[in-house]
């Protein structure tokens, strides 16, 4: 009897044999976008190993290298840069790698924050209903009235008002995460609430209640695993949105500080030199940002189709 249990295929083997993984292998878009996302995340993670210099360290910068075009040696120092150098002589390639780190870190952290708040409130709201539900969902409605980028800007502005000027640059990243994360929870909450309301009326939840299980075990052990697939889809799409939001805020000058440039900051700097011909300062960060957002979006789009059999 126990042997029979042992002979059952393991979790990994099951996962590899699942329809989900089968669909994944059969979709070139899914495989390519996953590979691209993975590559970008890895190169950001190992930026210090790949980059030729640390662009955040003022000591490593040489102003004489400023505006060196890609793959041509600098007229003053003779140094060559794969993607050129920016106005302050930073290697654009290294700056992109480091900038992507900030973009991805802010993106992941903000989505995690939004997800934790949203999923928790959505579960509570959907399961208990009544007044708890009304209050949480009214707040969500009010916030949803405003586009998340505006909410993020407001939170950013307010937080800026609170922090003393000398700390602003240091805290800027955390303020960014907070503002994007807080502007993002509503999507999670609404979807999880909807799914929870469907699940809680299913008979397996009633069976658990009948046994005498309390609200928390039912919510987290029974309902949560069943509402995770839409959460995964939203999280992926939110990640793309958060990366774009971060870039937008930084581009507008209300995000990452110039000393720690993210992709958006780089594009902001590059835009100033668009008319004078130094295209590479703008071009390479823009392409990287687009590649990042596009591959994550493609992945999310495919996930939604794969996890939602209704649309097949």
């Amino acid at each position: 009897m126990i042997e029979a249990i042992k002979h059952a295929p393991g979790r990994i083997k099951r996962a590899l044999d699942s329809d989900f993984f089968w669909k994944f292998r059969r979709s070139p878009v899914a495989v390519i976008s996953f590979a691209a996302t993975f590559l970008l995340v890895m190169s950001a993670l190992f930026a210090p190993l790949l980059a030729t210099m640390n662009p955040f360290d003022p000591a490593s910068l040489n102003l004489m290298n400023g505006f060196t075009p890609p793959v041509t040696p600098s007229a003053f120092t003779g140094e060559t840069f794969l993607m050129g150098a920016d106005d302050q002589g930073r290697d654009v390639f290294s700056t992109i790698l480091y900038g992507m780190r900030i973009s991805l870190f802010v993106g992941f952290a903000a989505v995690t924050l939004g997800l934790l708040i949203g999923v928790t409130l959505g579960l509570i709201s959907g399961y208990f209903g009544g007044w708890t539900d009304t209050i949480i969902m009214r707040i969500a409605d009010v916030q949803l009235t405003f586009p998340s980028i505006l909410v993020a800007m407001l939170i950013f502005g307010v937080a800026k008002g609170f922090t003393p000027p000398e700390y602003r640059d240091q805290l800027a990243i955390w303020v960014l995460i907070l503002s994007i994360g807080l502007s993002d929870w509503v999507q999670f909450a609404r979807v999880v609430r909807g799914a929870t309301m469907v699940e809680k009326n299913k008979e397996y939840v009633q069976a658990a209640r009948l046994i005498g299980r309390g609200a928390m075990p039912i919510i987290f052990r029974h309902i949560l695993p069943n509402v995770l697939s839409p959460v995964l889809v939203i999280a992926t799409i939110s990640l793309a949105l958060a990366i774009i939001a971060e870039a937008t805020l930084s581009f507008l000058g209300v995000g990452a500080p110039p000393t720690q440039p993210s992709l958006g900051t780089l594009i902001r700097i590059g835009q100033g030199y668009l008319f004078s011909g130094e295209w590479w300062i703008l071009f390479f960060p823009s392409v990287t940002l687009l590649a990042l957002a596009l591959s994550v979006n493609l992945l999310g789009d495919w996930l939604r189709d794969a996890l939602n059999p209704k649309l097949r």
Partner: protein, 568 residues
């Protein structure tokens, strides 16, 4: 010449692992004015035939062999445009769910007239007149007013009448009705079937009636075709097929149908195709604790009322309530099976949920084993009560958590009540799964790997895990095929006989209730209309409402009572 002639039709659905043959070389003919029943269990391919005739097969399904001919014309190879001309004009269709078959944003008049104009090429005024006449024909009261209403303003039965009117708009010669009454109450079902019968004769329309319900076949159809696993196993005049079935599958299927007119001790089980599964009742009985039966009632329901808020109302005190259960009282004595029957909305499921504590009563009390359990104040009484009652739900697909392994599902009550832990619990779960006929290797699987009947066995294993005294069965077989229903009902009978379990059995299906219950309460609009010993109720009902319900049972006069079951 037959209206519709299907020869050797084969429909395939390519899937990931293999090509699934939904229909395998099926033959079927329909004559004018004839109702041809197409019967089979789920997955038999009966609905696929309907969709194939209409050219409405869901992708990736497609016809891979055979022909479909309308009169002399071959139609299975037609392109979309030619098919569209035939569809509606010559062949029409009625779907199962009247709720979703009508476009919610258009009035009945709009939907009727556009169909009439599209198919018959008549003017607006003429179309309007025809629309009105059609509504009158399908017996919708006050048709002038009803014409300008939207679908949501109609009841389920009325909606299905509108759907029939829509299918008749184009004066078709063949109508395919796919489970047209499955979503309706018995009383409404009988009326709709009668309407279809009358229309078929009156307009000389050929009808293919697709259903899983032997009662519907017996009472409505002229000819019947029985399908099993994509193939036709038997076909012929209804009286002949049901009276002297020739094929083994037909025989066992007919034998498994619960009869309204007599009580049997056990249901003959469908054994065709090797679907027999054992159930080790003796094993279970050996380990079952012998308890002393309490004096008097085990469960006592005293004046219970349950209200639900209706939608609407700006302010709390403006909201209306309706009483789903209205001042209901009864006692269930130890060892009996107590039945509750009624139509949908009668409150029968609500009372089960109030007794089990899933809903809190708005008035009245529930006593179990002499202790009050409807108030949460007595923690110890509630805990003991939770261990002593269990429930089997209607839908085997939603009553098991799809993300939990079967062993975790069955172990949950054991662990929650602290009966066993760790290895001992694991052994006990394996034992239970073995006893309900699934085998211990079911433990590591997930619910979606099992069929409906197997899932219901998992539910039973979970229900037996705490060795309860009282079992609530809420329509435990209404989502199952007849053959599986027979197995599950036999298991429930075994549990009651061998373990002395007390049961509350909720059902809308009177023949099933007759086979299962000792006493029956008939509910209507939240109240108990009549409470009787089962046999007395069926032979000599006191109340008009009960007699009306009984008269609506399928008569199945053609069905042979003495089917010779094949030996295996």
């Amino acid at each position: 010449m037959a209206l519709l002639n299907i020869r050797d039709l084969t429909v395939e659905f390519p899937t990931r692992r293999k090509v699934f043959k939904a229909v395998n070389a099926a033959c079927l003919t329909v004559e004018p004015g004839e109702i041809h029943g197409l019967v089979g269990e789920s997955g038999a391919g009966k609905s696929t035939i309907g969709a194939a005739v209409m050219g409405l097969l869901e992708r990736p399904g497609h016809i891979t062999g055979g022909t479909i001919a309308y009169r002399e014309d071959e139609i299975s190879g037609l392109d979309d445009e030619a098919m569209r001309k035939l569809r509606g004009r010559k062949i029409s269709m009625i779907f199962q769910d009247p709720l979703t078959s009508l476009n919610p944003l258009f009035t009945i008049r709009q939907q009727l007239t556009e169909t009439i104009i599209a198919n018959l090429k008549v003017g607006k005024v003429d179309a309007d007149a025809r629309a009105l006449a059609l509504l009158q024909r399908v017996d919708i009261p006050d048709p002038e007013t009803r014409l300008d209403q939207y679908p949501h303003q109609f009841s389920g039965g009325m909606r299905q009448r509108v759907v029939i009117a829509l299918a008749l708009c184009s004066e078709p010669e063949v109508i395919i009705a796919d489970e047209p009454t499955t979503a309706l109450d018995v009383a409404v079902q009988a009326q709709i079937l009668e309407l279809i019968r009358d229309l078929a004769v009156e307009r000389q329309v050929g009808v293919i009636l697709i259903t899983h319900d032997m009662g519907v076949i017996a009472d409505t159809t002229d000819r019947v075709t029985v399908m099993y696993d994509g193939s036709v196993v038997e076909s012929g005049p209804t009286a002949q097929v049901l009276g002297q079935p020739e094929h083994d599958y037909t025989k066992s299927l007919i034998a498994a149908v619960p009869r309204p007119n007599r009580k049997v001790h056990r249901f003959p089980q469908v054994s065709y195709g090797g679907r027999m599964t054992s159930f080790a009742i003796e094993e279970i009985a050996k380990g079952w604790p012998v308890r002393e039966a309490p004096e008097g009632a085990l469960v006592s329901v005293a004046g219970v009322t349950k209200r639900f808020a209706e939608k609407g109302g700006l302010l709390p005190w403006q909201r209306r309530h309706f009483k789903a259960v209205d001042d209901v009282s009864f006692d269930i004595v130890p060892g009996e099976v107590f039945g509750v029957v009624g139509e949908s909305g009668s409150g029968k499921s609500t009372i089960a949920r109030v007794i089990s504590g899933l809903y809190r009563a708005d008035g009245g009390n529930i006593y179990f084993d002499g202790r009050l359990v409807s108030e949460p104040s007595d923690k110890e009484a509630i805990r003991a009560f939770r261990q002593d009652i269990q429930m089997i739900f209607q839908d085997p697909y939603s009553s098991l958590n799809p993300r939990m392994r079967v062993d975790d599902i069955v172990a949950e009550p054991i662990k929650h009540h602290g009966l066993l832990s760790g290895h001992a619990a694991k052994l006990r779960v394996g034992e239970l799964l073995e006893q309900v006929g699934l085998g211990a290797d079911a433990a590591a699987k997930y619910p979606h790997e099992f069929s409906g009947g197997q899932r219901q066995r998992i539910s039973i294993a979970r229900a037996l895990a705490t060795q309860p005294k009282f079992l609530i069965c809420d329509e435990p077989t209404s989502a199952l095929d007849v053959s599986i229903q027979a197995q599950i009902l036999n298991i429930l009978k075994d549990l009651q006989e061998h373990l002395g379990l007390t049961m509350l059995f909720i059902s809308h299906d009177l023949p099933v209730v007759r086979q299962m219950c000792d006493r029956v309460a008939v509910m209507k609009q939240g109240r108990i209309v009549e409470l009787q010993e089962t046999e007395a109720l069926f032979s000599d009902a006191k109340e008009n409402y009960t007699r009306e319900l009984l008269s609506l049972m399928p008569r199945m006069s053609d069905v042979s009572d003495e089917v010779q079951l094949p030996d295996y």
